[in-house]
Every structure is written in C-alpha cells, then in structure tokens.
Symmetry: C2
C-alpha cells in the first residue's frame, strides 16, 4: 500500500468506531483536549517557533508570519474554541420525523456522520484544532493537510490531540496529519474515494480549483467572495451608507466583504458623493462605471474585469443601475454567489431580491459581513460553501452530517 492508501484505509477503519460513540464520550475526549492544549502550551510554542524561524529565513511576509504564529492567547482561544464545540448540540442520531406508511412501515431520516473528511488548508495552526474538533464532534474522521510552513506546529497539535484520544480510549487514527510535503501524496489522497468521503479545501482560488479538478470524491468549497450591496431607489441613504462602509471596510480581507456597490440611478446623484466621502475617509480607492464617473469625477474607470474581482483590499468598484432587474442580473452574472445585500424601503423589491439573487446568503437591510457561522447561530463553522448542493453558506456541525433513511418494520414485504 502507498502512503496515501495507508492513511485512507486507516481513516475509514477508525471512522466506524468513532461513528458509534455517544455524545458524552465525544465531549469527554474534547474536554481532555481542552486541558491538554493549555497544559502543553510551552511545547506548542517551542514547536511553533521552529516554523516561525524557518518562515523568517524563507522571507515570509509579516502577514503570513502573523497567521502562522501561536501565542499563549491564541492557544487559550483554541482551547476555548474546543469548549464552545463541546457546548454545541450533537446532530448525530437525530430523527426529526417518522412517517407511518399505509403498509405500517415507519419511515424517516437519521442524521449520521459523513465519514472520513480530508481537509486541506493554509498555514494556520488554529485550523488544525478547530477542524478536528468540529469533525470529531459530528462523528467524522479527519485527514489533515496544512500548509507546509506550519508543519511543526501542526504535528505538535496533532500529537496533543492524539494524547487526548488515547486518554479517552478512542482510536487515535480518527485524526491523521499528512506529514509528507510531497504533493504526490496529497494528490493520491484526492483519488481515494473508497476511503475518503469528502474533501474541504480552504485557501486561495488556485488551490481550490486544483483540488476540485483532481478530487474524485465530493468537494465542498468556495472559490471567492465577490459580494454586492445594492442601494435601491428610495432607500434610506444614511442606512445605505452605513451598510456600504461596514461591508467594505470593517474587515476588507475576508470573503464576505463587499467588492462592488450597485446604486440605483434615481439616488446616484445624492448617494454617490456621500458614500465616496465616507469611503475615502477610510482610505478606500474607488473605480466606477461611466455613469458613476459622471457623478464622481476623477475616480478610476472600472473595467469589465473589475466586476469579477475579489479585491480583498480597500478597493471598491461602483456601478449605477437602472433598477432591481439590472442589479439582480449583475449580481447573478458577475458575483460569486456568496453574500449580497439590498438596501430598500420597498417590500416587494426586497422580497424579490431575496428570492432571485442566487447566492448563499441574501440580505435585506444589513451588511454582508454577517455571513459567518457564529453570526448565523451555528456556533462554529468549518468553512463557507458557495456550492449549490449539500450546504450553502457557513457550514457548522449539522452540515458535517448527512441523513440516511431508517425504516422500522414488522415483517413487511413488497407486493
């Protein structure tokens, strides 16, 4: 067996024992993990320092080094995250309804774990614990492959997890870390759909596209977040300005930040100068369509490419539209089906926007920045999906399970 096959087969085998654990057993193990993370702070910091030293030598940017760094506060936050997951309800085994069929069969669906999940992510050690804990609580085995810059930190975290599993008497192969930096191992894992049931890639668009092309098992992903705010005719312009500024600048580097502002022609003359002043005060540079430029003289023209672009930066493209039809068309055509908002006072247009915008999260009169597991009440999220099957938007414990049919009979046979 190859290295990848060994990992895959072990994961599937270990999974069957995990799937049968009770919520209490899983929570007891997570509680041990919480304690172990805090107790082994010194060890984790020392291993992390090896990655940081290598990263500095390699010339990683300050931003990347910051993402890579563990601190006592960050370790405490990780441990707290584990406690938060303990507190979440376990979806496994839930049956919402059993229907009695005419022949007396009781038929329903039971939430069950998906199986073995491969998670491929960037050099962020906090994802290691978070992804494990979410998958474990929902009864899934995990195979983790983090960015190679974080290998010492991740191996240390996985050894702390393995210690907690051992102490709880649970097969430690329910989490495995792909230590090899050989891309071929990961690529082979992506073809082992007999062992691995799902892959969740987290990271840049290039990585996610490469994973999607190679993987033979289902992939849950989001490529990017090209999010919009549409300011409708007759909207309250103070509200619109507050939402637009928040959606753009509150945290511009994340996927639910606004990249394009759409403004109804009726309010363009009044709204655009006001929002420009507010955005410029936050150092946002603007690019506009022709109509925008006729109001906001001197800003850069937007190209066709701008409408597709996720800036992840203090840049905003602005387009003036003739109405809600053009706004919805623009969003469905150029957007990434992530998060989009309308600011309106009109009931019918608000409801149309809600129905017709084909995105994972659609808002009336609120900032797109709320697309997040915690903000949506999921407690924690494993990622955000812009796919259209299984899960859209923030994915929590529930989305890490699936529903199988269960049937209670008393000897029924089919006629």
């Amino acid at each position: 067996m190859t290295e990848a096959q060994t990992i895959g087969a072990a994961s599937k085998e270990a999974w069957y024992s995990l799937a049968a654990l009770s919520t209490e057993q899983k929570n007891a193990c997570l509680s041990l993990l919480h304690d172990a993370l805090l107790e082994q702070e010194a060890y984790l910091l020392a291993e992390n320092e090896k990655d940081l030293a290598a990263g500095r030598k390699k010339g990683l940017s300050a931003a990347l080094l910051d993402r890579l760094a563990l601190t006592p506060q960050r370790i405490a936050a990780m441990a707290q995250g584990v406690l938060d997951i303990i507190a979440l309800p376990d979806p496994v085994g839930r049956v919402q309804e059993l229907k009695r069929m005419p022949n007396g069969l009781l038929v329903g669906r039971m939430q069950v774990p998906i199986g073995s999940i491969l998670i491929i992510y960037e050099a962020r050690p906090n994802v290691t614990v978070d992804a494990f804990a979410l998958c474990f609580k929902s009864g899934n085995a995990t195979v983790l492959k983090g960015g190679s810059e974080a290998v010492h930190s991740n191996m240390a975290l996985v050894s702390v997890i393995a210690g907690a599993l051992d102490a709880a008497g649970i097969d430690r192969r329910v989490v495995q870390y792909v230590e090899s930096s050989d891309r071929a191992v990961t690529n082979e894992l992506l073809t082992l759909n007999e062992y691995l049931d799902l892959v969740i890639p987290r990271g840049g668009e290039g990585l996610i596209r490469a994973v999607s092309t190679t993987a033979t098992m289902p992939v849950i992903k989001h490529y990017k977040g090209v999010c919009h705010v549409y300011v409708d005719s007759g909207a309250d312009l103070e509200t619109a300005k507050a939402i637009a500024v928040n959606a753009k600048v509150q945290r511009p580097g994340v996927c639910n930040a606004m990249e394009t502002l759409l403004v109804h022609a009726d309010v363009a003359r009044e709204f655009l100068p006001a929002v420009r002043d507010a955005l410029c005060a936050c150092n946002v540079s603007l690019r506009g369509c022709d109509k925008t430029l006729s109001v906001l003289m001197g800003i850069e023209p937007a190209t066709e490419d701008d409408w597709y672009t996720e800036y992840l930066d203090l840049i905003l493209s602005i387009r003036v539209v003739s109405g809600i039809d053009e706004a919805i068309d623009h969003i469905n055509r150029y957007g990434s089906h992530h998060s989009d908002a309308i600011v309106t006072k009109d009931y019918a247009r608000g409801m149309r926007f809600l129905r017709e915008v084909d995105s994972s999260a659609v808002y009336i009169n609120a900032s797109t920045r709320f697309t997040d597991g915690a903000e949506f009440g999921l407690g924690a999220e494993i990622g955000i999906s812009t796919d259209k099957i299984h899960a859209r938007g923030p994915m929590g414990l529930e989305e890490l399970t699936c529903a199988k049919w269960i049937v209670f009979g008393d000897g029924q046979i089919r006629a």
Copy 2:
C-alpha cells in the same frame, strides 16, 4: 461558442426566469404537458417506431427493445406521472424557521432550486418526461442526454414539452436535449460548471464512473446496489424467510434487491435449509461460504468477488456470521451503501444495526425492496443516491433543491 457552451449558457439564462415562477405557473404548464402527451400519442408512437426499427436492425436484445418501446398505455402512464408531480407540494421558497439573533437580525434558510441539471440516462423514453417534470416543478432547468437508441422518441417528447412551455409563455430553453451523438459534446458539457450546477447520471456502473471522472460539477449517483439481509440469532425464521425471498426474487433486476444473505451461526442449521427450499422454488441459484456449504451440501462456493457483486439476477450469495459485529463489518466493507436489513427480535441489536450500518436505507424487519421514492412517501423520484453528501437514498423534489440563507435586517452592521 461550441455546441456545448451554447447549450450550457442558454440553460443558465433560461433558469433564472424559471426560478422566479410561482407554483401555479409551473403546475399550469405541467397540466398543458399532460394534455399534450395524450393528444400527440400518434406522433410519439410514430417517432418511437423509428427508434424501434433502427434497434431491431441493430440487433438490440428483446429486453432493450422493451425498455425503448412506447405504447398507448406507457404514454398514458407518463401523462399520469405528470399529474402526480403536479399534486406534489412545491418545496421552492419554503422557510422552516427564522431565528432572531441578539442583534435583531432574522436569519433562516429558504429552499431554492439548484440551477441547471444535466441528466445522462439510458435509452428509456419515460425518463425524459419524468426527469423534466421533476426538475421543472422544483425550479431547475434541465439538459437531457438520453441513450442514442432513443433519439427520435426523446426528440419527439422534448418537442411536446417545448409546445407546453410555449403555450404557458415560459422560455423553452428550460429543457434542452443534446441531439448530437458525438460523445465529445457530452464530455465538454461535463466540464461547464459555470453553467451546469449538477449532473445526475443514470445507467450502468461504467457510464457513472466515466461521468464522475470527467465532471467538474457535483455528481449525484449510485454505482450499484449490493444489498444485504442479516438474519439475527433468535429471529422469527418465517418472517426472515419471507423477507429474504421477497428481497431476492420479487424483482431481481433492480438495485434494491438483495444480493447477499447473512445468517447468524446460531440459526444457520435451521434457517438455511428452509430458505434454500423457498429460494430454489423460485429458481434462485445459491453460492455460499464454507460454513454455509457445511449445511447446504452441493451448492457452489462463493469467492471473495461474490461478496462485492451485484448479480441483478436470480443468484444469491450466503454467508454465515458469528454475530451482529461480523454482519455490520461485512455490510460496511463489501456492500454498496444502498439498502440493508436486519431481521431480529432483539431491540438493542436492531437499534445498533440501524445506527451502525453505513447505508442510504437501513431496515429492521422489512424487505430492502422498499427503497423507492413512492414507498418512502416522496411521491416520485429522480433517482437513488448512494453518495454521502446532499442526498442519500431516493431523491424527490426536495432533494432537487438546496437551502440558501436569508437575512431580514433593519440596518444592522457588524461591530
């Protein structure tokens, strides 16, 4: 644009108009389709005769010709199927719950159509109408590619559908048929994930594997049905015999028929001769493990390969197991995660089987033959999935939708 791109782009464009239709509008169109199918019986039979003539010339088997053939009864059944779909509740737009978050946002999920669905299927004209009607009712555009032996029948059916769409004032591009027999067109369609959101292949395992490998959009599929009945220690052996015989012989050529019978060692001596007699009376040939052979002298030995095999025929493999652990292990290892049943009087073992067998449908004391959209109360099914994400088991209208997040605000921004 290539032929495939033209089809894909038209499908996505037409979909947006379909997604916005009300249930009444969709039902009115389906009602027109129902009438048109009956009115155009002569035309449909004449076009079908072209396929049958070509099929006879090509030397298609009697079974294939039978699947291909339309008759007045079959056309009436198709039309009735459309009426049945009209009667089903429309899942689109349903919101089960809105939660009020601490900041006042109302957050929930709305069922929405998936988008454009590519359906690749064998030479069965009835699938054309059935798949269209299910996808249409659930707000999805379809691109249909049926087996080339049925091209005249399918084109005729699609032209009847197009007539109903025209009469209802709906963009007829919500259904398109891939007329070209050039495999390259279909293969290119499978890479157009910017236009097509899902592919559902129906047919043999080879076709389904080829589609899965090529497709860049999600695939919902089931490869095969290697289904089991496990007869537990202490089971009522008359019930067990009735279930085993029904699961094997009531319709052996379908995916939810039993292929392997697992028998607890405690009851093997009593049960095996009785079930053999009943099965042999139905012309089933048996293959057994060593322990089975020691009771049922003279039957063929089963090889390792038999445990993986979907016979789709009057053949059954039998294995004697030491208990429920071995039974569950066998099913999870060799089975296809389709439909599996335990026959037992023991409450705890029944519940364990339900939880731990990793299949789309798990039964206590009933025949596996019930895995079916109609039997499970879905009304109609587009297929059966053995995948683990989005949908497992029979897929009805509900499974042709997904849930997006909707958020009602009154100006909330993120702090």
